[in-house]
């Protein structure tokens, strides 16, 4: 931790000193200016509504993606014929860059939080779906046999055996999914909204305000970092009973 802090300080110092040469300060700004902007934003309260909006949209998008993604994955893992039916369509959708869908979303549902949530959910869905699907599909046959001899039907097998057995995979995919939801929301705000961190970046960039762009990026980076740490500990706590079996 100490060493990381040192590296960071060194880089910031290099940036501060390096930015003094030529016109680079115009493009790069300086750490002092960025810190100044961050301070100003938090004092005036200017940044909070934007940050809040981004977080709200991310959580909404993530919620939808987590629900639909794991449900689709579970249904497809439980039924190979359903999987064969849906796999080509899903793969085609997966290979389409989500950002090109943004104009379409605006066309369909206009500007505002709705397309932002949609883009967030869309970005997050595939990560969650593919991550969970692999784990759910490859659940050991011994669980499925056990379900069968205990008289479990389709739903019981899916929800009481397959889903918890794939728990660690699903948790890992949800972790990634949350990050994708956050970034998806920012992408959405950059094209289809007038609030949020994404909007702030585009607005600052078009106003030639490098310090604000970088300050916004710093906020986004800090939130992503915080999210990752939060999720890592949540995942550890949730997966502990499952891993205990493997360790025993």
């Amino acid at each position: 931790m100490f060493r990381h802090g040192f590296t960071l300080l060194f880089l910031l110092a290099a940036w501060q000193l390096g930015a003094g040469f030529g016109a680079t300060a115009y493009y790069l700004s300086t750490p002092v200016q960025v810190a100044d902007r961050l301070l100003e934003w938090s004092m005036s309260g200017y940044v909070w509504p934007h940050l809040l909006s981004t977080i709200e949209c991310s959580l909404a998008g993530f919620g939808v993606a987590a629900f639909v993604g794991t449900l689709f994955a579970l249904a497809m893992a439980s039924s190979p014929s359903f999987a064969r039916l849906l796999e080509p369509a899903l793969f085609a959708a997966f290979s389409t860059p989500k950002i090109v869908i943004a104009p379409l979303l605006i066309l369909w549902i206009g500007v505002g939080t709705l397309p932002v949530i949609a883009l967030s959910a869309l970005s997050s869905f595939f990560v969650i779906f593919y991550g969970s699907y692999g784990g759910l599909r490859d659940v050991s046959g011994s669980y499925i046999d056990t379900a069968a001899v205990l008289g479990a039907g389709y739903w019981t097998t899916a929800f009481q055996f397959r889903l918890p057995a794939a728990g660690p995979y699903i948790l890992a995919s949800l972790t990634q999914g949350l990050i994708y939801a956050f970034h998806g929301a920012i992408l959405g705000e950059m094209t289809a909204s007038d609030t949020g961190m994404g909007y702030l970046i585009v607005y600052s960039a078009t106003s030639m305000d490098a310090a604000s762009v970088l300050a916004a990026l710093a906020v986004i980076g800090a939130v992503t970092f915080g999210l990752l740490h939060l999720l890592a500990s949540a995942t550890r706590a949730l997966a502990a009973p499952l891993n205990a079996e493997a360790l025993a």
Partner: protein, 267 residues
């Protein structure tokens, strides 16, 4: 009294296996896991399928359970051809296969999810079963907190929960140390008498087979088939040092020994 009624109504099923064959394709080769196996188990009987690994014991058990289908022949339990698993046939695998995310109590409860006895009835049945296998104090424990022997007790309790009439045991004590193993053998006999079920147990331990079974089916591999059937008419409880116990164990060992030598010569 509920208990008295049950002991009258619950009796073991008969099993008739006729001409069962099962072929697996492994790496382009055909493996005859079972070829033309026929055997009958009488209601309430305790029989063992005994043989070296690879002679199709587990495959046979999976077919009786309904987890696998034979390529030829049929398996009839209580007059009906087996096509799928049923709650009237309980299975215990060598690895306990308890669900690691559930407690012992919840694992047994899960086996009762279809029992038409209400939530209170289910809870009562779970307590009764845990008491029966001596695990009452561990109802709230997770499987990874149990010893091997305790896990197998829990697995047996779970298999007995829906009141099966046939209990299929695939090397249930195979992974246990010898002390725990012989104690659980005694427990199995007690459960068999208490539950009045038919038991088919797979084992590769001759002494275990002779100690527990009414009859022992000795199997041999490549192709998997029944080599000989031994009646064990020694009354329970048996003593492993009695002369007829030792003699029977030896004659079964001799057969297995000859089998192994023959297999080596043909390989």
């Amino acid at each position: 009294m509920a208990v008295a009624l049950e002991s009258i109504s619950v009796t073991g099923t008969s099993v008739e296996i006729s001409g069962v064959s099962r072929v697996f394709r492994v790496d382009g080769r055909e493996v005859n896991a079972l070829r033309d196996v026929s055997l009958t188990v009488r209601p309430g009987e305790f029989v063992s399928l005994l043989g070296p690994s690879g002679c199709g014991k587990s495959t046979m058990l999976r077919i009786i359970a309904g987890l696998d289908r034979p390529d030829a022949g049929e398996c009839v339990v209580d007059g009906a051809i087996v096509r799928a698993p049923s709650l009237s046939r309980g299975v215990v695998f060598q690895d306990h296969r308890l669900l690691p995310w559930l407690t012992v109590r919840e694992n047994v409860l899960l086996a009762l999810h279809k029992a038409p006895i209400g939530q209170d009835g289910r809870e009562a049945r779970v307590l009764e079963l845990l008491d029966l296998v001596g695990l009452s104090a561990f109802a709230g424990a997770k499987p990874h907190q149990l010893s091997g022997g305790m896990s197998q007790r829990a697995a047996i309790a779970r298999a007995l929960a829906p009141r099966p009439r046939l209990l299929l045991l695939d090397e249930p004590l195979g992974a246990l140390d010898s002390l725990t193993r012989s104690r659980l053998q005694g427990e199995l006999l007690r459960l068999w008498e208490h539950e009045k079920v038919t038991v088919i147990m797979v084992t590769h331990d001759v002494e275990e087979a002779v100690y527990l079974s009414n009859r022992v089916f000795v199997m041999e591999p490549r192709p998997g088939r029944v080599r000989g059937i031994f009646d064990v008419s020694i009354p329970y409880p048996r003593r492993r040092v009695d002369a007829d116990f030792v003699a029977l164990r030896q004659s079964i060992l001799d057969i297995l020994e000859r089998e192994a030598t023959a297999a080596e010569l043909t390989c």
